[in-house]
Amino acid sequence: MYSDSFYKAFIHESINPFILFNNEGKLIDFNNEAEILFNSVSPKEIFELTLNHSPHNFGFERKYINLKYAKMKYYALLVGYIDDEHIAIELYKQINIEKEIAKIQDAQLTNIFSLIDISKNTNFDFTKTTITEEYDTSIPEIRVNINNFLLTLNECFKLFKESKKVKIAVHVKVGEYEVIDDKKHSIASIRCKADTLIEASQELERQALKSHINVFEVNGYIKLEFPIII
């Protein structure tokens, strides 16, 4: 006979986020994956999601819906409650089996601000769109696959073509690193924000994947993050 602690430990190790709330939406328990999820979405929002998809009576209900929080995607959720005091939700994580990662040897040393400038000039009509820039010029020349990097920028800027105002901010993410081939690399971020809400396209995500760039859609703006490899 297995103990409750075994079930609990098992759930904590799952790659699917699991969250247990009380009837007022307060967090009672959650697993490791849920803790990571909370970096991108608030527990309050997850509680609302839980209530919206809960079964009418005591029991469990599974629904197949697509959800995306930052770079994490989910294809289904399971909500259940067996009393009036608690309610739980599990999100089913979507895993990318294939991942094309650009090898560092396909990369060339370049000034990314020049690449942004080129892509900006070829994708925007400056008579229709005003662009403001905020660049951290301390970012040195870095190694990227120039071809794929430009194609990714093009796909990103295409989304903003009809916007009247666009702000492009380029910064180093303080305190965050990516490990590639056992080497730690700082992360640079290109944030594009418009006067309207923008959604990332599948083409952008597909192209970004080839360029070792992570795409985030946060509050209607697009963020591209990539390691600073010198």
Binding site: T110, N121, T122, F126, I146, N147, L150, L151
Partner: protein, 255 residues
């Protein structure tokens, strides 16, 4: 030695300055560049400025040579290709050229669905580039004046920008040439024309009269407006004039 000033490409308007800026920034990048636009906007000129000392071909020419195994494409590091719209099998073609750097030109509606070109430069038609147009008019008038020993200005020429720079140059040269033609030149031209024409067919005086009469009547109409005045100055009676105008109007509709 590479020149980065790209002075052969006229860029005085905002849009062409932007295009030139992108071209200059892209020169040293190991990526393919596509230049899009209507005929005669300067695509070839810009392509040759970006990739100096590189061989240039019509894209279909290279496609044919590859198909017939008449070219070792790997012997090239870079190529300029014109009019890639005309390619028969784009996918196969660019697969064959994937180790090369390509600067290509295409019409403005070309779709790069294979993502072969991360940099695309669009050149606007001359009608949208007032400053470039004025500069080109000035350049071509200067050139034509030098060739034809004349001193015409922009007021004296009829310009045609239907094919942008191509038709602009042709129309300016033609305007200046025509204005510098003397009576003897016209007679000489007509003589050569008649000699050539008579070789292929039998002609009578009446058959060839329109060559003289149509431009004559056109000029008199422009100058004198009314048929009364025209007849008076031509020293022919009005009925004869009317008959001629009607006959030429039916045939040519330009009198």
């Amino acid at each position: 030695m590479l020149k980065f000033d790209m002075e052969n490409f006229i860029a005085l308007s905002l849009s062409s300055k932007k295009a030139l800026h992108v071209a200059k920034m892209s020169v040293a990048l190991p990526v393919n560049i596509l230049i899009l636009g209507e005929i005669g906007v300067g695509k070839k000129t810009l392509a040759q400025e970006i990739l100096q000392n590189s061989q240039s071909y019509e894209a279909t020419e290279i496609e044919k040579l590859i198909l017939n195994k008449q070219i070792d494409i790997q012997s090239f590091k870079s190529l300029i290709l014109y009019n890639i719209d005309a390619l028969i099998n784009k996918k196969q073609f660019f697969e064959n050229l994937k180790t090369l750097r390509i600067i290509a030109t295409a019409s403005q509606n070309y779709k790069d669905d294979l993502n072969t070109f991360p940099i695309k430069i669009r050149l606007e038609p001359l009608s949208e580039r007032k400053e470039d147009l004025e500069e080109l008019i000035s350049i071509y008038i200067k050139e034509a004046n030098k060739i034809y020993y004349s001193n015409k200005t922009a007021h004296d020429v009829e310009i045609d920008i239907s094919k942008n720079g191509i038709s602009l140059k042709q129309s300016i040269y033609k305007s200046i040439l025509l204005s510098s033609i003397t009576k003897n030149d016209i007679m000489d031209i007509l003589y050569k024309y008649f000699i050539s024409d008579l070789k292929s067919r039998d002609r009578s005086y009446k058959d060839l009269l329109d060559i003289f009469e149509i431009p004559l009547l056109k000029a008199f109409k422009e100058r004198y407006k009314s048929q009364v005045q025209m007849a008076n100055h031509l020293c022919i009676n009005r009925m004869t004039l009317r008959k001629k105008l009607n006959s030429y109007y039916k045939v040519k509709k330009n009198v």
